[in-house]
């Protein structure tokens, strides 16, 4: 199995630079997800790896070989596209076999590869149908079948689930995960959906404005976002952001906002930082309703949304929206009088108000 390395990769369209100095190493058999908002350069980066876009600067290596000037067909990659890219005039079997026929493989080899892929993807019953006669999920499976039969070094996925409805997306997400476990192939997956990124990835690469914001495991990024961008991009609902000023006292640092204050962990970045403007990041999941907790502030509750086992309490803090995720425990009555929340100092992320970069250290989550 082969890895992929991007070293200072740049993409320019004329004078406009859309991808800036991307450095990334994808280990063999790893499942890496590039995630970010529309126009952040994630698809362009993927297309440069596939060879569908020229690389304006830096190098892309697959399996240790620089492929900047290698044609897509010789890079030994297979790609799954958002709109499936199935040939409408060919049957499912012919669509899956297309790449093998182009490579002039023997009829027997093609037939057995198609059969194997169809079995893995549950497409045996549809082999003689045309794409127009299939559902969205089935079409995407055919597209994956076409990639599988090639047995490439690297699988590239360009938002493959974006055209599917929510239910089918969840189902296909699990199928892709299973497929990766079964085939163990190096995979690079592009999406703008943070749930897909969190559930599928071994490592997530968060991109913004053509640059990498942060690379790490899903849990690492969730707990320790390097910037306010990553913090607000990952997680559903996203991390609450509160503007505050640092105040120091004998027992440590505090964040002060709107006449209230929260105690912070003793962080290296906060030493001698009295008066510094910061942005606090508080995950809705790590906020508690414990009325006796010493680190507690008040909020104005506006409405409560019930999700079944959980409820989302929509409130305002310091004139900005603030969301608390609370367990319902089968009843809503205990949530009716909520007027504040508490949080452990170690669970509060502190970001520089100007740069948006994290000042706080590693978040510890007790098991």
């Amino acid at each position: 199995m082969s890895g992929v390395t991007l070293d200072g990769v740049v993409k320019k369209y004329g004078a406009v630079q859309v991808v800036h100095d991307i450095d990334l190493t994808v280990a063999p058999q790893e499942f890496v997800v590039l995630v970010g908002p529309s126009g952040c350069g994630k698809s362009t980066t993927l297309r440069m790896i596939a060879g569908l876009e020229e690389i304006s600067g830096g190098t892309v290596s697959i399996d240790g070989r620089v492929v900047n000037r290698v044609a897509p067909k010789d890079r030994d990659v297979a790609m799954v596209f958002q709109n499936y890219a199935l040939y409408p005039h060919l049957t499912v079997a012919d669509n899956i076999a297309f790449g093998l026929k182009i490579r002039k493989e023997s009829k027997e080899a093609i037939a057995s590869s198609v059969d194997e892929a169809a079995s893995i993807l549950g497409l045996n019953a549809y082999l003689e149908r045309r794409p127009a006669d299939l559902s969205g999920g089935q079409r995407q499976r055919v597209a994956m079948g076409r990639a599988i039969v090639r047995r490439p070094k690297v699988f590239l996925f360009d938002e493959p689930l974006s055209n599917l409805d929510a239910k089918l997306r969840t189902q296909m997400r699990a199928e892709i995960k299973r497929l990766h476990k079964r085939l163990g192939a190096t995979s690079i997956y592009v999406t703008h959906d943070q749930v897909e990124a969190m559930t599928l990835a071994d490592r997530i690469v968060v991109m913004n404005d053509g640059r990498i914001e942060q690379v790490g495991t899903p849990m690492d990024l969730f707990l320790n976002p390097a910037s306010t961008f990553v913090a607000s991009f990952l997680g559903s609902p996203p991390m609450n952001m509160v503007d505050a000023t640092i105040e120091t006292a004998a027992d440590g640092a505090y964040a002060v906002f709107g006449g209230q204050r929260l105690k912070l962990d003793a962080l290296p970045g906060l030493q001698g930082a009295a008066g510094r403007e910061v942005t606090l990041g508080l995950r809705p999941e790590y906020v508690t309703l414990d009325a006796s907790h010493p680190n507690r502030v008040n909020v104005d509750v506006e409405l409560i949304e019930t999700l079944g086992s959980e409820a989302l309490i929509h409130a305002t803090l310091n004139d900005k929206p603030f969301v608390i995720k609370a367990e319902t425990k089968g009843a809503m009555s205990h949530l009716s009088g909520v007027n504040g929340f508490a949080i452990e100092p170690g669970m509060i992320k502190v970001f520089d108000a100007d740069t948006g970069r994290a000042l706080s250290g590693q978040t510890r989550v007790s098991a």
Partner: protein
């Protein structure tokens, strides 16, 4: 009056209830067909307004003249008029099929059409595929303009160019033949040369312009299909055969059906401009025959019979081609 009470008699519902039921039934009754059409027109009147000029044109110039078709079955006289001329049944048609000239015209029409179809139909498709492969924008624009240009030149000028080019004394074709030591050929007076010259001229004039339809169809093919094929390792040639051509096949079939429907509609002006009695043997087609009989010899009824025959055959051809296409390729005009 005693029946109409708000209380109602035993076993009968009160009047208010009956009225309410009737009102309810009225409210939920299915609208009539006329109401539906009315509602539809009210909703979509802008579309019908856009369609109106074409419908008016069709009625005025294609349907109204059909009234005159009856003279094909009459002994028509311009003094008695269409309605006043006596019916004579199929007499004109009998005369037509006894006329060697008409049978020759049918043969010539079919042959010219056949060769125009066999040679001329694939060329615009090939041209479109070639234009599509050109990557240099300036070169592409230039070649396309050159290919489209002859379409916009009047038939008279085209015929002039052809006559001049093939002239035995000053034509470039004969100049080349002479250059290689050959003797000048009187191309336009020799029946065996008429069909190649006519078919070739037609291709030169229309191939470029006809390729626009196929270029538009090619533009509609999703670029991801090509990207996917590139990753799969397909060459440009393979992409052309395995993606582009199959993708534009429905357009090709539609164009073929239209073409087959027009098989008896050989470019009449061009024949009139290029033929002469010496080449009637291969050049006289149904339309020139109708023109000579109808307008030059004044036999309107006889010419109408020939024209009607032409139209009926074309109608049958188009229906047959459409049915065959629908059966075998899932693509059809209607």
């Amino acid at each position: 009056m005693s029946d109409i009470t708000t209380e109602g008699k035993a076993g009968r519902p009160p009047v208010e209830e009956l009225v309410a039921q009737a009102v309810e039934a009225e409210r939920y009754s299915e609208p009539s067909r006329l109401q539906k059409v009315g509602d539809h027109l009210k909703r979509e009147w802008q579309l019908y307004l856009l369609l109106a000029p074409m419908v008016i044109w069709l009625v005025l110039f294609l349907y109204k003249p059909m009234y005159g078709l009856q003279i094909a079955f009459k002994d028509y006289s311009i003094f008695r008029g269409v309605a006043g001329s006596p019916w004579i049944g199929f007499e004109h048609f009998e005369r037509l099929f006894e006329s060697e000239q008409f049978l020759r015209a049918i043969k010539n029409t079919v042959l010219i059409s056949f060769w125009s179809l066999v040679i001329g139909f694939p060329i615009p498709i090939m041209l479109a595929l070639m234009f599509n492969e050109v990557t240099n924008a300036l070169y592409k624009r230039t070649t396309q303009t050159i290919a489209y240009l002859p379409h916009f030149i009047s038939s008279v000028i085209i015929a002039g160019i052809v006559i001049t080019s093939f002239s035995p004394s000053m034509g470039i074709v004969n100049a080349i033949i002479n250059f290689f030591g050959g003797e000048s050929i009187y191309f336009l007076t020799k029946p065996e040369w008429f069909r190649p010259i006519f078919v070739g001229t037609g291709i030169w004039q229309e191939a470029g312009f006809s390729s626009i339809v196929y270029l538009a169809a090619i533009a509609g093919v999703s670029p991801t299909l090509y990207e996917s094929a590139v990753v799969d390792g397909a060459s440009r040639w393979q992409m052309m055969w395995k993606i582009t051509l199959p993708s534009i096949l429905p357009t090709i079939i539609i164009m073929l059906i239209i073409r087959i429907g027009n098989i008896l509609e050989v470019g009449f002006e061009m024949v009139i401009l290029l033929y002469q009695p010496a080449t009637y043997e291969t050049a006289d087609i149904i339309n020139t025959f109708i023109y000579r009989q109808g307008l030059q010899a004044g036999q309107y009824d006889f010419a109408a019979a020939a024209g009607l025959f032409n139209a009926v055959v074309a109608f049958v051809l188009v229906i047959t081609a459409n049915a065959i296409s629908r059966r075998f390729s899932r693509t059809s005009l209607w």
